[in-house]
Symmetry: C2
């Protein structure tokens, strides 16, 4: 099995000014190719560190992917270290990257300055992976490491650009490495806690054939992903994936990178239906999740974040009496919110939330982390069916909001399925 | 200067299933104490890796903070490695953590099982930092490394819990290490691009005294943070921070961890005013940003995400004629959206966005990444003043949305200041 190390170069990650998202994306992609990631490393813009750590990584792994340390406002430390590591004598100009850079700068209305000119220069012993999203090219250095067979990929640090180059990197890896045959099927579920899931499929899991592995990957936004992996030709994996889906029924909503917004979008598109949202405690999070999907305007009409009770009354049509008698965090209120936004925005479905995200605002009767969620469906005769649920979580504000939102979206998903 | 290494233990980060946010938080905190972070490492749940990498880190740095590898569904590999590294003979029970764990499990309605019982067991040569948010205690191991003076902190991997223990860790570091005196002041700005900022303060920056360092920390959501750091007694830093603020005027909106929602909240609270939002292309992101701040219900009434044009007309009161003649992405439409939501939700201020986040939907006249943003103010005489701006970005959907949202919030901030 081929091995890899992922390395970021740059002080901003080291001092915690930004979160490293590149390594996570790169690792997932390598994992899907059946490459074993040995470790991740984040190091400083320092000559000795870069030379020492990259050398060590190249000795230990077949593939090293390094991001960062490049770019017009940087010192040239990283590029010079790459020159040394690759045994290059000096630098050459990448004509392709230079042409791209002229276009990029022209589009930004900036002239080509000396600092930009240097961007397209690369160590002479490297292959360029042209970067169409920024001025620093991706670079490939072969024949490195103790065995003279390891490969180093150097990518810009800006996530947009690094991810844009990942396709080229993976293509290069496939072309140059003899990869193990490995097949993945990821089944995505929501609604059954991880421990209960494990219990439900215990016998099936115990009977998995040799070479097949199951991983549980829980996530507050997505639910629980179940990832099946088979080494070799993948003779069993499709059958096993179908067995797993049958065991878990409606809890299964997708595969691979699917999430609840994607699944709901698919269901609505297939039925030619539309949806809206009325949010209180989730404050816009449900709407932001739904609108992250390109093309959602075909089925997502919009939302009302009724944070103040006056907005619940004036815009959603919640009755003042309901608020007086039951309060905003109540089943009565959530019903009126769900039906109100469905009618006001003229959609076929709606979802609604009202609760207490915290850290303050809870009572013994309605504690922090508690919410009412609802999903509504417009029926053929014009009536509206509203499904409601009370949920209780015990985390910080952000995580409570995330769980309110994902549970509400799952309730909507099930409501669409029953329609 | 004391040094530190940050290490995560656990396959989920290695295979890219989750993004490592703990290391970033820990690094920022260490940085604020004047401790130099040498590198970050993410390793597998593997005995040789854990022993080897933690030993190496303890030889190279004064402080090692390791997160993960603990918890009820884990093998006990990590805890046993900690036993070996610390020279412990065996394990002992932490009575304090045991008591906490009984309460935690009771609150979840779960009985104490054997797997949970083992959670409060720790290597005998360690000090416990009680974890009140989860069942795995924090642990401190002293007298390690080549010099016999390094300290290893082991924390649970769940971010909520690791961050909850950070205060205790920092208190322990302050109590046991002789730290350099270091003072930070971070000035937070929005509206001036980094390169223009640098040009504007060039002379002032060139004249900074010895021992004072300025770092530029740009961020799509927050703007550009300018962090001043002074070693020693911090004799100059307050004066320098005031000089910097004077040089940058209205672009400065806060200090430290302030962001635009925090600053806007402060301005509104001080004036006893309220706000609302009408979002199209930002899809709920502005609302989610505003409602992330605890206590925002005092000034944030809510929003309308008018993703479909019918919602712009029916809920916000945008005129059909406006949409026909100018389209949704126009100055005319954004004015009506901003005024519409301000009047409909009955607030003193509002913010609005309408644009094309991408990747599709652009034209040569209205390309992807373009948006109209607006901020409105209700005047004493009942009239409404609307400030509008056209913005153009060139990134992916998520980043365009982020920039639309932060620029709109900054326009709102400036509109409140001029009021």
């Amino acid at each position: 099995m081929k091995t890899a190390t992922i390395c970021t170069i740059g002080d901003e990650i080291l001092i915690g000014q930004i979160v490293d998202t590149n390594s996570s994306h790169i690792a997932r992609t390598l994992q899907s190719l059946g490459i074993r990631v040995l470790y991740h490393l984040s190091i400083a813009d320092d000559r000795d560190e870069i030379l020492g750590r990259l050398s060590e990584a190249l000795d230990r792994s077949d593939i090293v992917i390094a991001t960062g340390g490049l770019g017009p406002t940087r010192d040239d430390i990283t590029k010079d270290c790459l020159r040394i590591l690759s045994g290059s004598e000096g630098f050459r100009d990448s004509e392709e990257q230079y042409r791209i850079n002229c276009e990029i700068l022209a589009a930004r209305g900036i002239g080509m300055m000396a600092t930009n000119r240097a961007q397209s220069q690369v160590p002479d012993r490297c292959e360029v992976l042209p970067n169409h999203l920024g001025t620093a090219p991706g670079m490939v250095f072969r024949g490195l490491g103790r065995n003279g067979s390891s490969v180093l990929y150097s990518l810009p640090g800006v996530p947009f650009e690094a991810l844009g180059l990942l396709g080229s990197v993976m293509g290069d890896i496939r072309a140059h490495f003899d990869l193990d045959s490995i097949t993945h099927r990821t089944i995505v579920t929501f609604g059954i806690p991880e421990s209960v899931l494990a219990e439900r499929i215990r016998d099936w899991e115990d009977a998995l054939p040799q070479g097949v592995h199951l991983a549980y990957l829980p996530n507050a936004t997505v639910g629980v992903r179940l990832r099946l992996t088979e080494m070799g030709g993948g003779a069993n994996i499709d059958r096993l994936a179908e067995e797993l889906k049958a065991l878990l029924g409606d809890a299964v909503y997708g595969e691979g990178d699917d999430d609840l917004p994607t699944a709901i979008g698919r269901l609505l598109l297939a039925r030619g239906k539309t949806m809206s949202a009325a949010e209180s405690c989730t404050g816009g999070r449900i709407s932001a999740l739904m609108t992250a999907i390109p093309g959602c305007s075909a089925y997502y009409y919009g939302s009302v974040t009724s944070y103040d009770n006056s907005v619940k009354v004036n815009v959603l049509g919640v009755r003042e009496q309901t608020l007086r008698e039951h309060g905003a965090v109540s089943e009565e209120c959530i019903r009126e919110m769900a039906e109100g936004v469905l009618r006001r925005l003229g959609t076929d479905y709606s979802v609604a939330t009202s609760g207490i995200a915290g850290p303050s605002g809870g009572t013994s009767e309605k504690p922090v982390g508690m919410a009412w969620i609802a999903a509504a469906r417009r029926n053929g005769d014009g009536s509206v069916t509203v499904n409601t649920r009370r949920v209780q979580f015990r985390s910080n504000r952000a995580t409570n909001i995330e769980r309110f939102a994902s549970n509400a979206l799952n309730l909507l998903r099930l409501t669409i399925l029953e329609g």
